[in-house]
């Protein structure tokens, strides 16, 4: 069976050229980058090169790049490290109500275990944080603001530069989770004006298990991972040399081809969205139409439940993801969709499609055709659809 992957926001395959650059560091150049001998220095040299490359691609300095095990560790470090560092000054952290679980659970932990107060800023119907809400939420106890650059479920891109300026006016540090954005849209820490930024290699055709926390010079979060002298003593643990090399190679390729990929992926996504809106009734396009990642499409299909759509698509060889509670094992559907004001029963029926550079227009057509059949079949089974069917024919 033909398989179509439309879950690039979950992860991407490692680019073949990237893999080739990584491979020597598993075998011949296997040295520990902290070792003084030649084997170690080969690794150390590769890590330095990668650090320089990544820094220049995001507008940072090399000594502002800290390698981590991925986006989750970077987010944990940013929130907990900054909160613990600043707790003498204040105990208030501001974030948004649509953050990734890595931020949400870190905030919950500092609230529970260290007595922090957390403000979760609301979003509008498109998932945008209102700058005036941030301004109003700041108190003299606020020590950190963390707002994601682009949302993982609905792709909404936040006005980070403006939000960071508001925090800085009051001398408050600003972190952004840019895991979904880096490699998809232009991202520069100097343009954004953020103090800390998380991103992860496997979202841009790099390997899993490696990420970066950018920390602006002079900012010093408390260490989360203590151990050896790696990462200028800020993050212990033997450096994942092949991962770091892969991350740099993948980011370089993503940034160099960013314009071309952006246009291509957006074209696929727009075609998909247009066909779904025109051909499937009662499909709600979630998120902002313009301020949005090019790869993301998120729809609520009314009267049916997301997991059954997801499973049916999977049986047809199509991989995507769902904001449904049933696919996550919790009872609450996506906190992101609920925060945008989408009613709970519609949030249960939401599906995310995320496109990549290897998808084709033919695949988009095939997916829409299958999706139409599946939505139709599931609606025919739904008691909710039955209730309104009288007024809608040929659905």
């Amino acid at each position: 069976m033909k398989r179509i992957y439309l879950d690039h926001s979950a992860t991407t395959p490692v680019d073949e050229e990237v893999l080739q650059k990584m491979l020597p560091y598993f075998t011949g150049k296997f040295g520990n980058a902290n070792s003084m001998h030649g084997f170690g220095q080969e690794g150390a040299y590769a890590v330095d090169e990668s650090r320089r490359k990544i820094a220049s691609l995001i507008g940072a300095k090399p000594n502002e790049i800290y390698f981590t095990s991925g986006g989750t560790e970077a987010d944990n470090w940013a929130i907990k490290g900054m909160a613990l560092k600043m707790r003498e000054k204040g105990n208030h952290v501001i974030t948004s109500s649509i953050e990734h679980a890595a931020i949400m659970s870190s905030c919950a932990q500092i609230a529970k275990e260290y007595g922090f107060e957390i403000t979760y800023l609301p979003v509008d119907g498109n998932g945008l944080v209102r700058p005036e809400d941030l301004r109003a939420a700041i108190t003299d106890k606020t020590v950190l603001v963390s707002i994601m650059l682009a949302n993982n479920e609905i792709g909404t891109i936040q006005p980070i530069k403006e939000l960071a300026e508001i925090a800085h006016e009051k001398g408050i540090y600003f972190h952004t989770d840019a895991v979904q954005a880096v490699g998809s849209i232009p991202v520069s820490v100097t343009d954004l004006g953020v103090d800390l930024m998380s991103f992860s290699a496997h979202k841009f055709y790099g390997p899993k298990g490696v990420g970066v926390l950018y920390i602006h010079g002079g900012v010093k979060p408390t260490k989360l991972m203590t151990g050896g002298h790696q990462e200028r003593t800020m993050r212990g643990g033997t450096t994942n040399v092949p991962g770091v090399v892969g991350m740099a190679a993948a980011l370089e390729k993503a940034v160099n081809n960013l314009d071309e990929n952006y246009v291509y992926i957006k074209k696929l996504r727009d075609k998909f969205v247009e066909r779904v809106i025109n051909e499937i009734p009662y499909a709600i396009y979630n998120g902002d139409k313009e301020k949005r990642l090019p790869q993301n499409a998120n729809f609520a299909f009314e009267f049916i439940e997301g997991e059954s759509i997801l499973m049916s698509l999977d049986l047809a060889g199509i991989a995507c993801s769902s904001g449904s509670a049933c696919s996550s094992g919790s009872l609450e559907p996506s906190h992101v969709l609920l925060a945008t004001g989408l009613p709970i029963e519609k949030a249960h029926g939401s599906i995310r499609f995320s496109f990549g550079r290897d998808n084709t227009e033919e695949e988009v057509d095939y997916v829409v055709d299958k999706l139409k059949e599946i939505v139709c079949k599931l609606r025919a089974m739904s008691p909710l659809f039955c209730e309104i069917k009288g007024e809608t024919k040929n659905v």
């Binding site: 009267f303 439940e305 997991e307 449904s324 049933c326 559907p333 089974m381 739904s382 008691p383 909710l384």
Partner: protein, 126 residues
């Protein structure tokens, strides 16, 4: 996540749809929980002659609806009331732990439909 039997039942569910001449209807669950099960029955001489369902829910909810309705077809009202969620799960060869509530919903939907029948029966024979 699901076994083959569940997936087969989900792909080709039995007894789907509204029933125009049903004399018993039971609806359980609600949309905000992500599950609604509606079971229709045609009961004659205490026998469930025909049964069908409509379900809003996940693959497990649809599969349990299919199996539960098949289990009670042709059975007496008393037999149908004895069907438990464990029997529905056994029939499916097991369900993931977080999906067991779907089988409970199926048991409740059967009971709700039978209760609807009994209520009508009592009302008609007053």
């Amino acid at each position: 996540m699901y076994n083959e039997r569940v997936m087969k039942e989900f792909q080709n569910p039995q007894n789907v749809g509204e029933m125009a001449d049903a004399n018993a209807v039971g609806t359980v669950g609600n949309a905000s929980c992500g599950d609604i099960m509606k079971i229709y029955m045609k009961i004659e001489n205490n026998i469930i002659e025909d049964v069908s369902f409509q379900t809003f829910g996940c693959a497990a909810a649809i599969a349990t609806s299919s199996v539960a309705t098949s289990l009670i077809k042709g059975k007496t009202v008393e037999e149908a009331l004895k069907i438990t969620n464990a029997q529905v799960v056994d029939e499916l060869g097991g369900l993931p732990a977080q999906k067991l509530h779907c089988s409970v919903l199926a048991e409740e939907a059967i009971k709700a439909a039978v209760n609807d029948y009994l209520t009508r029966y009592v009302a008609e024979n007053k």
